[in-house]
């Protein structure tokens, strides 16, 4: 599905702050993989996502999606195949729009935005059904402004809108990190539900080790631009929280974090 080949990335090249992050980094993501990525700050998790989404350019190497080279493709063009949910709930919806308008806007992704009516009234019931799955009562507030919703509600809405149209890959960029523990649990369950039902290939970066272990069929730990743990399937099931924590602490001591 997705392949990173020999990715090299150095930040602040040619200055005193020069720091090499990726050196010939490789990653292969198979279809229906649900990868959880953990790692300390500066380990390269976010940069990895940014490289996949085209938010930052690479120095060398290739990004292949379904065998097509997308290394040079602009970020917004890649959105045709990639859905992304950010840590900040405000990033996934338009605050001055109603829930309905946000859903109508997202529903049209992949098609041109021309001069036909934006909100199709006959689709309201369909949108309500999507919202009902959240159990947040949003289906009754479909004309309310999204700016008036809580962070958890907005993140839940972002999960729904980002998966409304078909995508090759779903990118979750610490999408529960800004939420309280209870809401984070709810959003994570909802995420898992959506991924299973729609068979989405997913890459999730998280700081929550519990989520990383209990969700997904592949676990990666990043450290200084390398993946130091990469287990999947049954092997992943056997990994214990204590093992991961121990490894995490080792690294933290090494880097003085």
């Amino acid at each position: 599905m997705l392949e990173l080949q020999k990715i090299n990335k150095t930040f602040h090249k040619g200055t005193v702050n020069e720091s090499v992050l990726f050196r010939d980094f490789n990653l292969t993501v198979e279809k229906d993989n649900f990868i959880s990525i953990i790692g300390s700050n500066g380990s390269g998790k976010s940069t990895l996502l940014n490289v996949i989404c085209g938010t930052i350019p690479v120095d060398s190497g290739k990004v292949l999606l379904r065998g097509n080279d997308i290394t040079k493709m602009k970020d917004f063009k890649r959105s045709d195949f990639i859905a992304r949910v950010y840590q900040d709930p405000a990033k996934g919806s338009c605050p001055s729009f109603s829930i309905l308008e946000n859903m109508a806007l997202a529903d049209n992704k992949g098609k041109p935005y021309l001069f036909t009516k934006a909100v199709n009234k006959s689709k309201i019931d369909e949108y309500r059904t999507h919202l009902e799955q959240l159990h947040l009562g949003l289906e009754n507030r479909i004309h309310d402004k999204v700016g008036n919703l809580s962070g958890g509600q907005r993140q839940a809405l972002a999960m729904i809108t980002s998966t409304l149209t078909p995508n090759d890959i779903l990118i979750l960029d610490e999408h529960t990190a800004a939420l309280d523990p209870k809401t984070a649990d709810n959003i994570m369950e909802l995420t898992y539900d959506l991924i299973k039902r729609k068979n989405l290939t997913t890459i999730m970066v998280t700081h929550n080790l519990k989520f990383a272990l209990s969700y997904g069929n592949r676990l990666m730990m990043m450290h200084q631009g390398e993946s130091i743990i990469d287990v999947s399937g049954e092997e992943k099931e056997r990994v214990q929280l204590s093992e991961v924590l121990e490894r995490f602490n080792e690294i933290s001591i090494e880097t003085g974090n």
Binding site: S93, C94, Y113, F115
Partner: protein
């Protein structure tokens, strides 16, 4: 009574004409959060195009449409400066405005061009159907029809998919990227519509006052902004009124303030000074009340 009525007529005429410009500024400043100074050049551009075409015997309605296209083209230039070349928003507008000063003179031929005896929208076409008893209000009626058509078209556009994406561009540009569209292009489209409307305002004003004047664009952004902010803050609690309606009423209120000041003896030469003071009062009082969504504009300039 007579004087009050004729004053009222002038206020409404002016308020609606400048209201068209304010509708354009509503798109760039409120929807896209882009203070576009190009309107100071595209407003007279519309007037220059109009006198040039009318003097060559072109239908005055066609002249309005050509003005819109000319304004949109200038907006495209500003958009390219900003989006493609990465020049700051204010500076991009200043560049276009400055260039347009010369271009307008080239189009019109000289700094002041009258069209007193030519065919204008106010003395041809549909004006014949206006009954004799309303002859005094002919100009106002035509202006009103123009404004309503433009407002309706804009309302319709903002409800289309393209319009929704334009609003999303100002609200959350990252969202537009997530929807696989380039928010830079949407910004350019918004600038084109804004400057197209500014040029239409200039075109209609030139036909109403029967001349083009190369300096008629000075202070247009300030005036349009004041109209937008007055209209939007007075009616912000209203749930049923459209933003475009608020902007048009704001423009009429603004013109009323100016007209009253002149009526009570303010020297017309001090008009631009008065416009600025009025704008400052609107902006600061809005900030002092502190409830308005326009607070960000004051804070932005303090930074």
């Amino acid at each position: 009574m007579e004087t009050i009525l004729s004053l009222l007529k002038t206020i409404l005429e002016q308020g609606f004409i400048y209201g068209i410009l304010a509708l354009g500024i509503y798109i760039t400043y409120e929807i896209l959060d882009y203070p576009d100074l190009s309107v100071d050049g595209t407003f007279p551009l519309g007037a220059a195009i109009t006198v040039a075409f009318i003097l060559n015997g072109v239908d005055p309605w066609i002249a309005i449409i050509i003005s819109f296209l000319g304004g949109a083209l200038a907006g495209l230039a500003t958009g390219i400066f900003h989006v493609v070349f990465g020049i700051k928003d204010l500076l991009s507008g200043i560049l276009t405005m400055t260039a347009l000063y010369s271009i307008n003179l080239k189009i019109a031929g000289r700094a002041n061009v009258p069209i007193t005896n030519e065919t204008r929208i106010f003395n041809s076409g549909i004006t014949e159907y206006i009954p004799e008893s309303l002859a005094n209000y002919k100009t106002l009626i035509i202006i009103f029809i123009c404004v309503i058509i433009i407002k309706k078209l804009l309302d319709l556009y903002l409800k289309t998919k393209s319009g929704l994406l334009l609003r999303a561009t100002g609200d959350n540009p990252g969202m537009v990227t997530l929807l696989a569209k380039n928010h830079g292009y949407m910004k350019i489209i918004g600038l084109m519509i804004c400057n197209g409307l500014a040029a239409v305002g200039g075109s209609i004003l030139a036909q109403q006052q029967r001349y083009f004047d190369s300096t008629m664009g000075t202070g247009m952004l300030v005036m349009g902004l004041a109209s937008v902010i007055i209209g939007r803050s007075i009616f912000k609690k209203s749930k049923f009124m459209k933003a475009t309606t608020m902007v048009l009423i704001g423009s009429v209120i603004y013109k009323t303030c100016l007209a009253v000041a002149i009526y009570y003896g303010v020297n017309p030469n001090d008009l631009k000074l008065l416009m600025t003071i009025l704008f400052l009062i609107v902006l600061i009082s809005n900030d002092a009340i502190g409830k308005g969504g326009f607070k960000k504009y004051v804070r932005a300039s303090k930074n």
